[in-house]
Protein backbone atom coordinates (compact mmCIF):
# COMPACT_ATOMS: atom_id res chain seq x y z
CA UNK A 1 0.00 0.00 0.00
CA UNK A 2 2.70 2.45 1.05
CA UNK A 3 4.80 1.39 -1.90
CA UNK A 4 1.95 2.05 -4.29
CA UNK A 5 1.51 5.48 -2.82
CA UNK A 6 5.15 6.41 -3.43
CA UNK A 7 4.88 5.14 -6.98
CA UNK A 8 1.81 7.24 -7.49
CA UNK A 9 3.57 10.22 -5.94
CA UNK A 10 6.43 9.85 -8.36
CA UNK A 11 4.03 9.46 -11.28
CA UNK A 12 2.69 12.87 -10.40
CA UNK A 13 6.03 14.35 -11.39
CA UNK A 14 5.80 12.76 -14.84
CA UNK A 15 4.49 15.93 -16.58
CA UNK A 16 7.73 17.70 -15.63
CA UNK A 17 9.73 15.30 -17.80
CA UNK A 18 9.44 17.16 -21.18
CA UNK A 19 10.68 20.39 -19.61
CA UNK A 20 13.50 18.65 -17.80
CA UNK A 21 14.62 16.89 -21.00
CA UNK A 22 14.61 20.16 -22.97
CA UNK A 23 16.52 21.97 -20.25
CA UNK A 24 19.07 19.18 -19.84
CA UNK A 25 19.70 18.74 -23.56
CA UNK A 26 19.80 22.38 -24.62
CA UNK A 27 20.98 24.28 -21.55
CA UNK A 28 22.78 21.95 -19.15
CA UNK A 29 24.56 19.90 -21.81
CA UNK A 30 25.98 22.94 -23.67
CA UNK A 31 27.23 24.36 -20.39
CA UNK A 32 29.03 21.11 -19.52
CA UNK A 33 30.25 20.77 -23.11
CA UNK A 34 31.56 24.32 -22.94
CA UNK A 35 33.68 23.56 -19.89
CA UNK A 36 34.94 20.38 -21.56
CA UNK A 37 35.69 21.99 -24.95
CA UNK A 38 37.55 24.85 -23.31
CA UNK A 39 40.26 22.30 -22.39
CA UNK A 40 40.66 21.13 -26.00
CA UNK A 41 41.86 22.62 -29.26
CA UNK A 42 38.50 22.07 -30.98
CA UNK A 43 38.17 24.07 -34.18
CA UNK A 44 35.45 25.00 -36.62
CA UNK A 45 37.15 23.39 -39.63
CA UNK A 46 40.14 21.22 -40.42
CA UNK A 47 41.68 18.30 -38.57
CA UNK A 48 41.01 19.68 -35.09
CA UNK A 49 37.30 19.90 -35.89
CA UNK A 50 37.01 16.12 -36.22
CA UNK A 51 39.43 14.99 -33.54
CA UNK A 52 39.99 17.74 -31.01
CA UNK A 53 42.89 16.98 -28.68
CA UNK A 54 42.95 17.55 -24.96
CA UNK A 55 45.18 20.52 -24.26
CA UNK A 56 44.55 21.06 -20.56
CA UNK A 57 44.57 24.62 -19.34
CA UNK A 58 46.36 25.88 -22.45
CA UNK A 59 43.37 27.96 -23.57
CA UNK A 60 43.10 29.59 -20.17
CA UNK A 61 46.83 30.30 -20.06
CA UNK A 62 46.54 31.86 -23.51
CA UNK A 63 43.47 33.78 -22.33
CA UNK A 64 45.35 35.49 -19.56
CA UNK A 65 48.44 36.23 -21.63
CA UNK A 66 46.35 37.51 -24.55
CA UNK A 67 46.06 41.27 -24.21
CA UNK A 68 42.60 41.18 -25.84
CA UNK A 69 41.09 39.25 -22.91
CA UNK A 70 41.81 41.60 -19.96
CA UNK A 71 40.80 44.47 -22.23
CA UNK A 72 37.51 42.72 -23.03
CA UNK A 73 36.88 42.03 -19.32
CA UNK A 74 37.48 45.68 -18.54
CA UNK A 75 35.22 46.85 -21.40
CA UNK A 76 32.51 44.43 -20.26
CA UNK A 77 32.67 45.84 -16.73
CA UNK A 78 32.57 49.40 -18.06
CA UNK A 79 29.64 48.51 -20.33
CA UNK A 80 27.64 46.78 -17.57
CA UNK A 81 28.32 49.35 -14.86
CA UNK A 82 27.82 52.42 -17.04
CA UNK A 83 24.83 51.29 -19.07
CA UNK A 84 22.97 48.95 -16.68
CA UNK A 85 23.88 49.67 -13.06
CA UNK A 86 24.12 53.46 -13.48
CA UNK A 87 22.29 54.31 -16.69
CA UNK A 88 19.26 52.06 -16.97
CA UNK A 89 18.80 51.67 -13.25
CA UNK A 90 18.98 55.34 -12.24
CA UNK A 91 17.19 56.65 -15.32
CA UNK A 92 14.45 54.04 -14.84
CA UNK A 93 14.03 55.09 -11.21
CA UNK A 94 14.03 58.77 -12.19
CA UNK A 95 11.39 58.27 -14.89
CA UNK A 96 9.21 56.16 -12.57
CA UNK A 97 9.54 58.78 -9.83
CA UNK A 98 8.66 61.63 -12.18
CA UNK A 99 5.68 59.63 -13.40
CA UNK A 100 4.13 59.54 -9.94
CA UNK A 101 4.09 63.35 -10.02
CA UNK A 102 3.42 64.18 -13.64
CA UNK A 103 0.03 64.42 -15.26
CA UNK A 104 -1.44 61.17 -16.46
CA UNK A 105 -1.41 61.83 -20.23
CA UNK A 106 2.23 62.97 -20.04
CA UNK A 107 3.28 59.78 -18.21
CA UNK A 108 1.34 57.66 -20.67
CA UNK A 109 2.95 59.26 -23.73
CA UNK A 110 6.48 59.21 -22.32
CA UNK A 111 6.02 55.67 -21.00
CA UNK A 112 5.06 54.54 -24.49
CA UNK A 113 8.14 56.22 -26.00
CA UNK A 114 10.45 54.53 -23.49
CA UNK A 115 8.81 51.13 -23.95
CA UNK A 116 8.89 51.41 -27.76
CA UNK A 117 12.70 51.27 -27.82
CA UNK A 118 12.53 48.15 -25.66
CA UNK A 119 9.82 46.29 -27.59
CA UNK A 120 11.40 46.74 -31.02
CA UNK A 121 13.24 43.67 -32.35
CA UNK A 122 16.84 43.98 -31.21
CA UNK A 123 18.26 44.16 -34.72
CA UNK A 124 15.95 47.06 -35.63
CA UNK A 125 16.86 48.90 -32.44
CA UNK A 126 20.52 48.31 -33.26
CA UNK A 127 20.15 49.79 -36.77
CA UNK A 128 18.27 52.78 -35.38
CA UNK A 129 21.04 53.35 -32.82
CA UNK A 130 23.67 52.98 -35.56
CA UNK A 131 21.93 55.60 -37.69
CA UNK A 132 21.57 57.89 -34.68
CA UNK A 133 25.26 57.83 -33.78
CA UNK A 134 26.74 57.60 -37.29
CA UNK A 135 28.91 60.41 -38.61
CA UNK A 136 26.11 62.42 -40.18
CA UNK A 137 23.40 60.85 -38.08
CA UNK A 138 20.66 62.47 -36.04
CA UNK A 139 22.81 63.22 -32.99
CA UNK A 140 25.43 65.14 -34.97
CA UNK A 141 22.73 66.95 -36.93
CA UNK A 142 21.26 68.12 -33.62
CA UNK A 143 24.70 69.13 -32.34
CA UNK A 144 25.31 70.91 -35.65
CA UNK A 145 22.10 72.87 -35.26
CA UNK A 146 23.28 73.90 -31.82
CA UNK A 147 26.53 75.13 -33.36
CA UNK A 148 28.80 72.29 -32.18
CA UNK A 149 30.63 69.91 -34.47
CA UNK A 150 29.99 66.37 -33.25
CA UNK A 151 32.72 63.74 -33.52
CA UNK A 152 32.34 60.50 -35.42
CA UNK A 153 30.96 58.74 -32.36
CA UNK A 154 31.30 55.16 -33.58
CA UNK A 155 35.03 55.60 -34.29
CA UNK A 156 36.13 58.21 -31.80
CA UNK A 157 34.01 57.15 -28.82
CA UNK A 158 32.60 53.68 -29.60
CA UNK A 159 32.03 52.77 -25.93
CA UNK A 160 30.14 56.00 -25.26
CA UNK A 161 27.92 55.25 -28.24
CA UNK A 162 27.13 51.64 -27.28
CA UNK A 163 26.60 52.55 -23.61
CA UNK A 164 24.14 55.31 -24.52
CA UNK A 165 22.42 53.03 -27.04
CA UNK A 166 22.03 50.31 -24.42
CA UNK A 167 20.58 52.80 -21.94
CA UNK A 168 18.10 53.87 -24.62
CA UNK A 169 17.23 50.28 -25.40
CA UNK A 170 16.98 48.84 -21.89
CA UNK A 171 15.71 51.54 -19.53
CA UNK A 172 12.08 50.51 -20.06
CA UNK A 173 12.60 47.37 -17.97
CA UNK A 174 13.84 49.27 -14.92
CA UNK A 175 11.10 51.86 -15.43
CA UNK A 176 8.40 49.17 -15.37
CA UNK A 177 9.91 47.49 -12.28
CA UNK A 178 10.14 50.78 -10.38
CA UNK A 179 6.70 51.96 -11.44
CA UNK A 180 5.21 48.81 -9.94
CA UNK A 181 7.36 49.19 -6.82
CA UNK A 182 6.48 52.86 -6.30
CA UNK A 183 2.80 52.13 -6.81
CA UNK A 184 3.02 49.75 -3.84
CA UNK A 185 4.51 52.37 -1.53
CA UNK A 186 1.65 53.41 0.77
CA UNK A 187 0.84 57.03 0.06
CA UNK A 188 0.00 57.88 3.69
CA UNK A 189 3.53 57.11 4.89
CA UNK A 190 5.17 59.67 2.65
CA UNK A 191 2.36 62.15 3.25
CA UNK A 192 2.90 61.78 6.98
CA UNK A 193 6.58 62.54 6.43
CA UNK A 194 5.61 65.56 4.35
CA UNK A 195 3.44 66.82 7.21
CA UNK A 196 6.40 66.36 9.54
CA UNK A 197 8.35 68.69 7.29
CA UNK A 198 10.60 66.21 5.49
CA UNK A 199 12.06 67.58 2.25
CA UNK A 200 11.78 65.76 -1.06
CA UNK A 201 15.30 64.35 -0.72
CA UNK A 202 14.71 63.21 2.84
CA UNK A 203 11.49 61.45 1.83
CA UNK A 204 13.31 59.73 -1.03
CA UNK A 205 16.34 58.61 0.99
CA UNK A 206 14.67 57.69 4.28
CA UNK A 207 11.27 56.44 3.20
CA UNK A 208 10.85 55.53 -0.46
CA UNK A 209 14.21 53.88 -1.17
CA UNK A 210 14.17 51.63 1.94
CA UNK A 211 10.62 50.57 1.10
CA UNK A 212 11.51 49.51 -2.44
CA UNK A 213 14.88 48.03 -1.43
CA UNK A 214 14.08 44.52 -2.64
CA UNK A 215 12.86 45.79 -6.02
CA UNK A 216 16.11 47.71 -6.41
CA UNK A 217 18.18 44.60 -5.66
CA UNK A 218 16.16 42.40 -8.02
CA UNK A 219 16.27 44.98 -10.78
CA UNK A 220 20.02 45.54 -10.44
CA UNK A 221 20.59 41.80 -10.68
CA UNK A 222 18.40 41.36 -13.75
CA UNK A 223 19.66 44.35 -15.74
CA UNK A 224 23.24 43.37 -14.95
CA UNK A 225 22.66 39.88 -16.37
CA UNK A 226 20.80 41.15 -19.42
CA UNK A 227 23.55 43.64 -20.19
CA UNK A 228 26.29 41.06 -19.64
CA UNK A 229 24.81 39.10 -22.56
CA UNK A 230 24.32 42.01 -24.99
CA UNK A 231 25.79 41.12 -28.37
CA UNK A 232 23.61 42.31 -31.25
CA UNK A 233 23.65 45.99 -30.33
CA UNK A 234 27.45 46.17 -30.13
CA UNK A 235 27.99 43.94 -33.12
CA UNK A 236 25.76 46.00 -35.41
CA UNK A 237 26.99 49.37 -34.16
CA UNK A 238 30.75 48.84 -34.04
CA UNK A 239 31.42 45.09 -34.56
CA UNK A 240 33.72 45.40 -31.55
CA UNK A 241 35.92 47.95 -33.27
CA UNK A 242 37.73 50.07 -34.07
CA UNK A 243 40.62 47.71 -33.22
CA UNK A 244 38.81 46.03 -30.32
CA UNK A 245 37.94 49.32 -28.63
CA UNK A 246 34.40 48.07 -27.97
CA UNK A 247 34.97 44.30 -27.84
CA UNK A 248 33.14 42.98 -24.79
CA UNK A 249 33.31 39.31 -23.74
CA UNK A 250 30.36 38.08 -25.87
CA UNK A 251 31.79 39.81 -28.94
CA UNK A 252 35.25 38.38 -28.26
CA UNK A 253 33.85 34.86 -27.79
CA UNK A 254 31.95 35.19 -31.08
CA UNK A 255 35.01 36.43 -32.96
CA UNK A 256 37.34 33.73 -31.66
CA UNK A 257 34.87 30.89 -32.19
CA UNK A 258 33.18 31.81 -35.45
CA UNK A 259 35.40 34.32 -37.26
CA UNK A 260 38.71 32.65 -36.43
CA UNK A 261 37.18 29.17 -36.06
CA UNK A 262 38.87 28.50 -32.72
CA UNK A 263 36.07 26.76 -30.85
CA UNK A 264 38.28 25.69 -27.96
CA UNK A 265 39.46 29.22 -27.26
CA UNK A 266 35.98 30.63 -27.87
CA UNK A 267 34.43 28.24 -25.34
CA UNK A 268 37.09 29.19 -22.79
CA UNK A 269 35.87 32.79 -23.05
CA UNK A 270 32.26 31.62 -23.03
CA UNK A 271 32.96 29.53 -19.92
CA UNK A 272 34.20 32.61 -18.10
CA UNK A 273 30.93 34.34 -19.04
CA UNK A 274 28.86 31.34 -17.95
CA UNK A 275 30.59 31.26 -14.56
CA UNK A 276 29.93 34.98 -14.19
CA UNK A 277 26.25 34.42 -15.04
CA UNK A 278 25.94 31.51 -12.62
CA UNK A 279 27.56 33.47 -9.79
CA UNK A 280 25.07 36.27 -10.36
CA UNK A 281 22.28 33.70 -10.69
CA UNK A 282 23.07 32.05 -7.35
CA UNK A 283 23.32 35.45 -5.68
CA UNK A 284 19.94 36.33 -7.19
CA UNK A 285 18.29 33.15 -5.90
CA UNK A 286 19.79 33.76 -2.43
CA UNK A 287 18.40 37.27 -2.53
CA UNK A 288 14.89 36.08 -3.42
CA UNK A 289 14.96 33.33 -0.79
CA UNK A 290 16.09 35.78 1.88
CA UNK A 291 13.27 38.03 0.82
CA UNK A 292 10.59 35.47 1.54
CA UNK A 293 11.64 34.89 5.13
Amino acid sequence: MAERRTVRRQLRLLPVVPSVLLLLLFLAAPVLWSFHASFTNAALTGRNARNPAWTGVENYVRLFSDSAFPAAVLLTIVFVVASAVVGQNLLGLLIAGLMTRARKPVSAVVGTAVVAAWVLPEIVAAFAAYAYFSKDGTLNQLLGNAGAAGPDWLYAYPMVAVVLANIWRGTAFSMLVYRAALADVPRDISEAALMDGASGWQRLVFITLPLIRSSIATNLMLVTLQTLAVFTLIWVMTAGGPSNASTTLPVLAYQEAFKFGDIGYGTAIASVLIVLGLVFGIAYVRLLKGDKR
Partner: protein
Protein backbone atom coordinates in the same frame (compact mmCIF):
# COMPACT_ATOMS: atom_id res chain seq x y z
CA UNK B 1 -9.86 57.90 -13.53
CA UNK B 2 -10.34 56.29 -16.92
CA UNK B 3 -11.72 59.45 -18.48
CA UNK B 4 -8.80 61.70 -17.47
CA UNK B 5 -6.52 60.13 -20.06
CA UNK B 6 -8.70 61.40 -22.88
CA UNK B 7 -8.97 64.95 -21.68
CA UNK B 8 -6.87 67.64 -23.36
CA UNK B 9 -3.81 68.82 -21.44
CA UNK B 10 -5.11 72.31 -20.66
CA UNK B 11 -8.28 70.92 -19.18
CA UNK B 12 -6.34 68.58 -16.93
CA UNK B 13 -4.37 71.36 -15.28
CA UNK B 14 -7.46 73.29 -14.25
CA UNK B 15 -9.21 70.19 -12.95
CA UNK B 16 -9.26 70.16 -9.13
CA UNK B 17 -6.98 67.43 -7.82
CA UNK B 18 -8.65 64.51 -6.10
CA UNK B 19 -5.76 63.80 -3.79
CA UNK B 20 -7.16 66.00 -1.05
CA UNK B 21 -5.60 68.64 1.15
CA UNK B 22 -2.66 66.57 2.31
CA UNK B 23 -0.66 66.76 -0.88
CA UNK B 24 0.16 70.34 -1.87
CA UNK B 25 3.78 69.27 -2.36
CA UNK B 26 2.83 66.69 -4.94
CA UNK B 27 0.71 69.14 -6.89
CA UNK B 28 3.25 71.95 -6.94
CA UNK B 29 5.87 69.64 -8.43
CA UNK B 30 3.71 68.66 -11.38
CA UNK B 31 4.80 71.11 -14.05
CA UNK B 32 8.56 70.58 -13.60
CA UNK B 33 7.93 66.82 -13.54
CA UNK B 34 5.95 67.07 -16.78
CA UNK B 35 8.70 69.10 -18.44
CA UNK B 36 11.46 66.73 -17.33
CA UNK B 37 9.50 63.70 -18.49
CA UNK B 38 8.73 65.20 -21.88
CA UNK B 39 12.42 66.00 -22.36
CA UNK B 40 13.40 62.41 -21.53
CA UNK B 41 10.64 61.11 -23.78
CA UNK B 42 11.94 63.25 -26.66
CA UNK B 43 15.41 61.71 -26.21
CA UNK B 44 13.86 58.27 -26.49
CA UNK B 45 11.88 59.12 -29.64
CA UNK B 46 14.76 60.81 -31.50
CA UNK B 47 16.58 57.62 -32.57
CA UNK B 48 13.32 56.33 -34.06
CA UNK B 49 12.77 59.39 -36.26
CA UNK B 50 15.33 58.23 -38.81
CA UNK B 51 13.49 54.94 -39.18
CA UNK B 52 10.20 56.65 -39.99
CA UNK B 53 11.58 59.37 -42.27
CA UNK B 54 13.93 57.08 -44.18
CA UNK B 55 11.18 54.56 -44.84
CA UNK B 56 9.20 57.23 -46.69
CA UNK B 57 12.20 58.65 -48.53
CA UNK B 58 13.44 56.93 -51.68
CA UNK B 59 16.76 58.82 -51.50
CA UNK B 60 17.38 58.12 -47.82
CA UNK B 61 20.82 57.87 -46.25
CA UNK B 62 21.89 57.93 -42.63
CA UNK B 63 20.92 61.59 -42.37
CA UNK B 64 17.61 62.26 -40.72
CA UNK B 65 15.66 64.53 -43.04
CA UNK B 66 12.07 65.10 -43.94
CA UNK B 67 11.60 63.26 -47.23
CA UNK B 68 11.47 65.69 -50.16
CA UNK B 69 8.49 63.81 -51.48
CA UNK B 70 7.01 61.22 -49.18
CA UNK B 71 6.19 58.00 -50.96
CA UNK B 72 5.42 54.42 -50.13
CA UNK B 73 7.83 53.18 -52.82
CA UNK B 74 10.18 51.65 -50.24
CA UNK B 75 7.37 49.63 -48.73
CA UNK B 76 6.24 48.52 -52.17
CA UNK B 77 9.81 47.55 -53.05
CA UNK B 78 10.29 45.27 -50.03
CA UNK B 79 6.84 43.68 -50.19
CA UNK B 80 8.04 40.75 -52.26
CA UNK B 81 8.05 37.06 -51.38
CA UNK B 82 11.88 36.85 -51.39
CA UNK B 83 12.61 40.04 -49.44
CA UNK B 84 9.87 40.25 -46.84
CA UNK B 85 7.15 37.63 -46.96
CA UNK B 86 9.40 34.56 -46.89
CA UNK B 87 11.52 35.78 -43.95
CA UNK B 88 8.40 36.92 -42.07
CA UNK B 89 6.87 33.48 -42.63
CA UNK B 90 10.04 31.92 -41.20
CA UNK B 91 9.85 34.29 -38.23
CA UNK B 92 6.25 33.24 -37.73
CA UNK B 93 7.13 29.54 -37.87
CA UNK B 94 9.99 30.00 -35.41
CA UNK B 95 8.05 32.19 -32.99
CA UNK B 96 4.75 30.30 -33.07
CA UNK B 97 6.56 26.96 -32.87
CA UNK B 98 8.72 28.08 -29.96
CA UNK B 99 5.79 29.63 -28.09
CA UNK B 100 3.68 26.47 -28.58
CA UNK B 101 6.41 24.07 -27.42
CA UNK B 102 7.32 26.32 -24.51
CA UNK B 103 3.74 26.79 -23.36
CA UNK B 104 2.97 23.07 -23.64
CA UNK B 105 6.02 22.02 -21.65
CA UNK B 106 5.58 24.86 -19.14
CA UNK B 107 1.91 24.01 -18.44
CA UNK B 108 2.75 20.35 -17.87
CA UNK B 109 5.66 21.22 -15.61
CA UNK B 110 3.79 23.90 -13.70
CA UNK B 111 0.86 21.65 -12.81
CA UNK B 112 2.57 19.29 -10.35
CA UNK B 113 4.71 22.17 -9.07
CA UNK B 114 1.62 24.21 -8.33
CA UNK B 115 -0.67 21.44 -7.05
CA UNK B 116 1.34 18.79 -5.25
CA UNK B 117 3.79 19.18 -2.42
CA UNK B 118 7.09 17.50 -3.13
CA UNK B 119 10.56 17.91 -1.79
CA UNK B 120 11.76 18.34 -5.38
CA UNK B 121 9.66 21.44 -5.98
CA UNK B 122 11.76 24.12 -4.39
CA UNK B 123 15.20 22.93 -5.55
CA UNK B 124 13.77 22.48 -9.05
CA UNK B 125 12.22 25.94 -9.17
CA UNK B 126 15.33 27.62 -7.84
CA UNK B 127 17.71 25.84 -10.19
CA UNK B 128 15.41 26.85 -13.04
CA UNK B 129 15.53 30.42 -11.84
CA UNK B 130 19.30 30.15 -11.88
CA UNK B 131 19.00 28.90 -15.46
CA UNK B 132 17.32 32.15 -16.50
CA UNK B 133 20.58 33.86 -15.57
CA UNK B 134 22.67 32.02 -18.16
CA UNK B 135 23.92 34.60 -20.66
CA UNK B 136 22.49 33.25 -23.91
CA UNK B 137 25.39 34.70 -25.90
CA UNK B 138 27.79 32.61 -23.83
CA UNK B 139 26.13 29.28 -24.56
CA UNK B 140 25.87 29.90 -28.32
CA UNK B 141 29.41 28.66 -28.95
CA UNK B 142 28.83 25.31 -27.17
CA UNK B 143 25.32 25.03 -28.64
CA UNK B 144 26.79 25.44 -32.09
CA UNK B 145 29.21 22.63 -31.27
CA UNK B 146 26.35 20.47 -30.01
CA UNK B 147 24.32 21.12 -33.17
CA UNK B 148 27.28 20.17 -35.35
CA UNK B 149 27.78 16.90 -33.44
CA UNK B 150 24.08 16.00 -33.59
CA UNK B 151 23.84 17.14 -37.23
CA UNK B 152 21.05 19.54 -36.33
CA UNK B 153 22.55 22.63 -37.92
CA UNK B 154 20.23 24.51 -40.29
CA UNK B 155 17.17 22.67 -38.96
CA UNK B 156 14.12 24.78 -38.09
CA UNK B 157 12.60 22.20 -35.67
CA UNK B 158 15.88 21.88 -33.75
CA UNK B 159 16.21 25.66 -33.55
CA UNK B 160 12.64 25.81 -32.24
CA UNK B 161 13.48 23.25 -29.54
CA UNK B 162 16.57 25.17 -28.49
CA UNK B 163 14.69 28.48 -28.37
CA UNK B 164 11.94 26.76 -26.37
CA UNK B 165 14.51 25.49 -23.87
CA UNK B 166 15.93 29.00 -23.41
CA UNK B 167 12.52 30.52 -22.77
CA UNK B 168 11.27 27.64 -20.58
CA UNK B 169 12.65 28.80 -17.20
CA UNK B 170 10.83 32.13 -17.35
CA UNK B 171 7.71 30.50 -18.82
CA UNK B 172 7.52 27.85 -16.07
CA UNK B 173 7.75 30.53 -13.39
CA UNK B 174 5.09 32.70 -15.01
CA UNK B 175 2.76 29.76 -15.68
CA UNK B 176 3.13 28.48 -12.13
CA UNK B 177 2.27 31.90 -10.74
CA UNK B 178 -0.83 32.14 -12.94
CA UNK B 179 -1.81 28.58 -11.96
CA UNK B 180 -1.36 29.29 -8.24
CA UNK B 181 -4.02 31.97 -8.65
CA UNK B 182 -6.62 29.34 -9.64
CA UNK B 183 -8.06 27.99 -6.37
CA UNK B 184 -7.48 24.25 -5.80
CA UNK B 185 -11.02 23.94 -4.45
CA UNK B 186 -12.35 24.19 -8.00
CA UNK B 187 -10.51 21.00 -9.02
CA UNK B 188 -11.51 19.03 -5.98
CA UNK B 189 -14.97 18.46 -7.39
CA UNK B 190 -13.38 16.98 -10.51
CA UNK B 191 -11.09 14.78 -8.42
CA UNK B 192 -14.05 13.52 -6.38
CA UNK B 193 -15.76 12.60 -9.65
CA UNK B 194 -12.73 10.42 -10.38
CA UNK B 195 -10.97 12.64 -12.92
CA UNK B 196 -7.20 12.27 -13.04
CA UNK B 197 -4.92 15.23 -12.43
CA UNK B 198 -4.34 15.88 -16.10
CA UNK B 199 -8.07 15.73 -16.89
CA UNK B 200 -8.70 18.27 -14.15
CA UNK B 201 -5.90 20.40 -15.59
CA UNK B 202 -7.44 20.35 -19.05
CA UNK B 203 -11.08 20.79 -18.14
CA UNK B 204 -10.92 23.00 -15.06
CA UNK B 205 -7.60 24.78 -14.60
CA UNK B 206 -6.59 25.75 -18.15
CA UNK B 207 -9.91 27.39 -19.07
CA UNK B 208 -9.68 29.50 -15.90
CA UNK B 209 -6.15 30.70 -16.65
CA UNK B 210 -6.75 31.33 -20.36
CA UNK B 211 -5.58 34.91 -20.13
CA UNK B 212 -2.44 33.98 -18.24
CA UNK B 213 -1.65 31.39 -20.89
CA UNK B 214 -2.12 34.06 -23.55
CA UNK B 215 0.32 36.32 -21.75
CA UNK B 216 2.99 33.60 -21.56
CA UNK B 217 2.45 32.64 -25.22
CA UNK B 218 2.72 36.20 -26.49
CA UNK B 219 5.67 36.90 -24.20
CA UNK B 220 7.65 33.99 -25.67
CA UNK B 221 6.46 34.85 -29.18
CA UNK B 222 7.70 38.44 -28.93
CA UNK B 223 11.05 37.31 -27.53
CA UNK B 224 11.60 34.82 -30.32
CA UNK B 225 10.39 37.19 -33.03
CA UNK B 226 13.05 39.72 -32.03
CA UNK B 227 15.83 37.19 -31.49
CA UNK B 228 18.73 37.73 -33.87
CA UNK B 229 21.72 35.86 -32.45
CA UNK B 230 20.26 32.34 -32.22
CA UNK B 231 18.94 31.97 -35.82
CA UNK B 232 22.01 33.88 -37.03
CA UNK B 233 24.23 31.09 -35.64
CA UNK B 234 22.02 28.03 -36.11
CA UNK B 235 20.26 28.59 -39.46
CA UNK B 236 22.48 28.74 -42.51
CA UNK B 237 20.37 28.61 -45.66
CA UNK B 238 18.75 31.93 -46.63
CA UNK B 239 15.44 30.19 -47.34
CA UNK B 240 15.12 29.28 -43.64
CA UNK B 241 16.29 32.50 -42.09
CA UNK B 242 13.81 34.73 -40.24
CA UNK B 243 13.46 38.46 -40.84
CA UNK B 244 15.90 39.35 -38.05
CA UNK B 245 18.72 37.69 -40.03
CA UNK B 246 17.58 38.32 -43.61
CA UNK B 247 17.58 42.05 -42.90
CA UNK B 248 21.28 41.92 -43.80
CA UNK B 249 20.38 41.31 -47.42
CA UNK B 250 19.99 45.09 -47.69
CA UNK B 251 23.70 45.45 -47.17
CA UNK B 252 26.21 45.14 -49.94
CA UNK B 253 24.06 43.15 -52.31
CA UNK B 254 24.69 45.65 -55.08
CA UNK B 255 27.51 47.46 -53.36
CA UNK B 256 25.33 50.12 -51.79
CA UNK B 257 22.99 49.99 -48.81
CA UNK B 258 19.32 50.54 -49.61
CA UNK B 259 18.63 52.64 -46.51
CA UNK B 260 15.05 53.49 -47.38
CA UNK B 261 14.16 49.86 -47.98
CA UNK B 262 16.04 48.82 -44.85
CA UNK B 263 13.92 51.23 -42.82
CA UNK B 264 10.68 50.14 -44.49
CA UNK B 265 11.57 46.49 -43.87
CA UNK B 266 12.39 47.25 -40.22
CA UNK B 267 9.03 48.90 -39.70
CA UNK B 268 7.03 46.12 -41.32
CA UNK B 269 9.02 43.57 -39.32
CA UNK B 270 8.38 45.44 -36.05
CA UNK B 271 4.64 46.01 -36.41
CA UNK B 272 3.51 42.52 -35.34
CA UNK B 273 5.41 42.63 -32.03
CA UNK B 274 4.25 46.16 -31.30
CA UNK B 275 0.64 45.01 -31.74
CA UNK B 276 1.22 41.91 -29.61
CA UNK B 277 2.87 43.99 -26.89
CA UNK B 278 -0.20 46.21 -26.67
CA UNK B 279 -2.32 43.05 -26.39
CA UNK B 280 -0.17 41.60 -23.62
CA UNK B 281 -0.07 44.89 -21.72
CA UNK B 282 -3.88 44.82 -21.68
CA UNK B 283 -4.07 41.07 -21.06
CA UNK B 284 -1.79 41.32 -18.04
CA UNK B 285 -4.02 43.97 -16.53
CA UNK B 286 -7.05 41.81 -17.24
CA UNK B 287 -5.64 38.70 -15.64
CA UNK B 288 -4.42 40.54 -12.57
CA UNK B 289 -7.90 41.93 -12.21
CA UNK B 290 -9.23 38.39 -12.58
CA UNK B 291 -7.04 36.96 -9.83
CA UNK B 292 -7.88 39.89 -7.61
CA UNK B 293 -11.58 39.28 -8.07
CA UNK B 294 -11.20 35.64 -7.12
CA UNK B 295 -9.29 36.37 -3.95
CA UNK B 296 -11.90 38.91 -2.87
Amino acid sequence: MTTTGRRPLEGASRRPTRRGVASPGFRRARTPADAALLLIGACFVLPLLWLVFASLDTTAGYRTQLPASASLDNFAAVLTPELLLGPLWNSLLLSAGTATVTLGAAVLAAYPLSRFQSRFNRPFLYSILCGTCLPITAIMVPVYGLFVQLRLLDSLPATVLFLAATSLPMAIWMTKNFMDAVPVSLEEAAWVDGASGLTALRSVVLPLMRQGLGVVFIFVFIQTWGNFFVPFILLLSPSKQPASVSIFSFFGQHGAVAYGQLAAFSILYSVPVLVLYVLVARGAGGSFALSGAMKG
